[in-house]
Symmetry: C2
Subunit: 313 residues, 2 copies
């Protein structure tokens, strides 16, 4: 059973109440806590040694990554973080100096966004370190940006550059909190998601939630130099484009705006975030599914089809 099928099965009919605005299925849950001008976002995310980090990276980067992943999900809904709780599940041989450094990586990032670390707990997980973070954030009432909401004709944008994250970005990325907030305050963001499973993995989530499809222009996909370097160096035949579509852990923003705002957005972004790339990579269509256009023409890109499509010719 795949992860998404499992989640779907377990979350089919969960208990709800009057505070719950949006349950499972978006980047964060949305809660109405009775504040007239705010809604609240609730999120949890874990990193596991041997899965999300090896244990041989600098410990500060492990702490940074653990918290930054969670903040990236808050960014995807245009939220502002308030407080986090840290769960450390510790292996038998844990090293206190290592944990100190994990905490200092989290602390530094938290202070940058005025996020309180409100506590947490330590428990035992004999074989490996697991760090789970839960986060509470806020968003102006009615201004949270969901995955659902993409409309036919919308321009599809992605921030930053994709692929090759394992070369370093996955440990060092800055969550796009400032960018997302600026977007939501200045533009009509119809839908947004953070890219954790790769463009080919996350775009379908947005489209399925919204009940639409998309046409992606192959040449517009911003491929990172890390992905290009890896494609050159590797003997596997994995192209840089395939890496950009599927590597995952980009933690950049994928979002849609009405096409009439696209040019103004590109201009304003350049002023506001001159060192971060913003790319219009295609448009939303009424026809479901994803097509990708390149010099050879237009072909369908299915969730499991990109491997075939992106084989080197």
């Amino acid at each position: 059973m795949k992860e998404f099928e499992l989640i779907d099965r377990l979350t089919r009919s969960l208990p709800a109440n009057s505070a719950l605005v949006t349950g499972p299925g978006d980047d964060c849950a949305v809660l109405d806590l009775g504040v007239s001008d705010r809604m609240f976002l609730f999120k949890t995310d874990a990193v596991v040694q041997g899965v999300h980090f090896t244990g041989s990276e600098p410990a500060e980067q492990v702490g940074h990554k653990a918290l930054a992943r969670c903040l990236s999900d808050v960014a995807a809904m245009a939220g502002t973080p308030i407080a986090a709780l840290i769960t450390l599940a510790l292996p038998s041989n844990f090293d206190v100096a290592y944990l100190d450094k994990v905490y200092s990586g989290m602390d530094r990032l938290a202070r940058r966004y005025d996020l309180a670390i409100a506590g947490g707990e330590t428990t035992t997980n004999p074989e490996r370190l697991l760090i789970s973070i839960s986060l509470l954030a806020w968003v102006a009432r009615g201004r949270q940006v969901m995955r659902a909401g993409a409309k036919p004709g919308d321009a599809l944008f992605v921030s930053g550059e994709l692929g090759g994250s394992l070369a370093g970005k996955h440990l060092e990325f800055e969550p796009r909190l400032s960018e997302a907030l600026w977007l939501a305050q200045n533009f009509t963001i119809h839908s947004m998601i953070d890219l954790s499973d790769g463009l080919a993995g996350d775009l379908p989530h947005m489209l399925t939630s919204s009940g639409v499809g998309a046409e992606v222009m192959s040449a517009a996909i911003p491929i990172s130099s890390a992905a290009r370097r890896a494609a050159k160096a590797s003997g596997t035949g994995k192209t840089a484009l395939l890496a950009a579509l599927t590597d995952g852990e980009d933690f950049d923003l994928l979002f849609t705006v009405p096409s009439r705002e696209a040019v103004r957005l590109l201009d304003a972004w350049k002023q506001q975030f001159p060192s971060t790339r913003l790319s219009c990579i295609g448009k939303i269509s009424a026809t479901k599914g994803i097509t990708i256009r390149d010099k050879q023409g237009v072909r369908p890109l299915t969730l499991h089809g990109y491997e075939h499509f992106a084989q080197p010719t």
Copy 2:
């Protein structure tokens, strides 16, 4: 390094902000989210296979325990739960039917308290199942009951019966949410904590936070029949009193009220919760440390001293 020393070290100077009212060191963190008549409680707690459950219990009980532990911490501050997020860290060989049952154990408990399960995530933990729950709750503004606040002369109470939890209670206990809320609404609760590490483990937390000591009457400690049965059956010489002091996982409430309210409380409790025992087990003293009084006299009970004290004579 002991767990409490580690937590103390890691949480020494965490980032705070204007929303954070109480950080690490109590049963839950307390947040001010700008609601005029409410404060919010934020809590996380995990159970790990092979540590908190074996994996051979009914799966519903594992789900129940995971959520009930977290709710017990909310009860300890007289809170009302709002929403939970569930993190499942899954071993390689996970069984979907088992997870379905874990979820149904949590669901049933959540519905009983109008708690929304707002989402969560699944991740990988190859060797064992880990379930981490984060919880948001509310409390009337200024009415949250902290560990600190016990005053010399206060009467010291405990709900339920202590010891022998592993015989079954640790999988089936009902978090004392209703009792705690009733206490906070009808009495002056100076301090409260839920018993997870045993009376001898948790009473010192309350006393240290409050800067006071306590005199405990040995004969007043409510020893569970499970603890008595275990003491009779075992050849280890561990007395039922020692079990009541140290077994842990009681998930009952330990709290203090001004002595003038003690008799009214005992009477009203009997009316309100006729099937649950309430015991006045001693009083708070200005002198730090814990003394325990029995037929032989008064002796100090230190955190590490109960083993010696409670040896059979």
